[in-house]
Amino acid sequence: MMKSAPWVALVAMGFGGAAVAQDSKALNVEGTALVTEAAAPSHMENVDTIYSGWRFRSGETQALQTDDFDNPAMVFVDQGIDQFGKIDGTEGKACSSCHENIEDFAGLRPQLPRVQDGKLVSMENLVNTCRTERMGAEPWKWSGGQMTAVTALIGLQSRGMPIDVAIDGDAAPFWEKGKELYYTRVGQLDMSCSNCHEDNYGTMIRADHLSQGQINGFPTYRLKNAKLNSTHGRFKGCMKNIRATPFAEGGDEFKALELYLASRGQGLAVESPSVRN
């Protein structure tokens, strides 16, 4: 009934090797070494080693991330600093009115998303909660320029720290949901995230070198659109590419997927803000 070409067996064997197709360069940012490769967490059944998306990019793209002067995302981090100090809303406050030292956010990025009062929250939720409940200001758009500038600034405070999200206890149901979404085929092309990012990372799909779809570098500056991109914005793009109706940015599905993907990157260094193509 099912018949496979002799080629399939050959390649299936080859794929184990294809996983080393990414180069083995070390990422040094401003002189500090960042972990871009780690043993896969035990919950991952089909992958032995996890790699940052940085490892799959071309030499020129990689180089942009090694020096903050060259990193095009840093312009947006500067904008984030401005936003952070800007008074907005009915309370007449800026972020900096209450968060005096931005460095105090060190350690936050590796633990997000996390469960708080029974809800899964991403960094964007934390920022908007402060805006709406503590500043009397309008929430920022999930993937808008103000939000990504500030999430890049906050993420940067944890650069180099290993991703370490909680997936047990009250996080477990969210994590399970994210895992299910990761393996569910969608769209006219009928593919799951795993079809590309787990089964075929390390190979070329037309002009793109497929990575494991890690999120340790978000928000990410993409050469393609010359701006910072949110995690959910990237998920949306991948879904549209397979002709699937994306879930809503900031919605339950993408937050669950974000938690699951973060957990597939446990141990990789936070690279925010990273550079990708």
């Binding site: 099912m2 018949k3 092309l189 593919m191 037309r206």
Partner: protein, 151 residues
């Protein structure tokens, strides 16, 4: 109910006007992953098949398959096997089956089914209820693939 019936009738009528003799996506008959009968009454055009193979909005087969016959295209994917000599490995009926719905030949494959119009979840509205390729484009690609011989 009356409205719904009327709508269905129009939809069927519309489709049958456009492609009177084409085999409908869900009516294609498979045997061991192969499709013996042509999907259309017009013989496949290999020159157009070659274009559909490379076109990003149509087959985009090149996204996953290298093909030495398309040296003018700069990016060849490597998710699936190279197409060189594919006609030495598969018969025309097998190739038609693979392009129509590769899942009938390769269980769990990443390769999309190019001539099905249902069975997939959450399609973007503009693609809902449609197949990626038309019956004629499938025939054109098959006519093209059958020219890729090495021996």
């Amino acid at each position: 109910m009356k409205h719904a019936m009327g709508f269905a009738a129009i939809a069927v009528f519309g489709a049958s006007m456009a492609f009177a003799e084409d085999v409908k996506p869900m009516a294609v008959s498979f045997a061991d992953g192969s499709v013996e009968a042509a999907l259309t009454s017009t013989a496949g055009d290999p020159a157009n098949g070659r274009k559909v193979f490379a076109n990003r909005k149509q087959g985009n087969c090149l996204a996953c398959h290298m093909n030495a016959d398309l040296p003018e295209e700069s990016f060849h994917g490597e998710v699936g096997p190279p197409m060189d000599g594919v006609a030495d490995r598969w018969t025309k009926a097998e190739l038609r089956g693979i392009v129509t719905n590769s899942k009938m030949m390769f269980e769990g494959t990443i390769m999309p089914a190019f001539y099905v119009d249902s069975g997939y979840e959450r399609p973007l509205d503009e693609f809902a209820g449609k197949s990626i390729l038309t019956a004629q484009q499938v025939e054109d690609i098959v006519a093209y693939l059958i020219t890729l011989k090495e021996d």
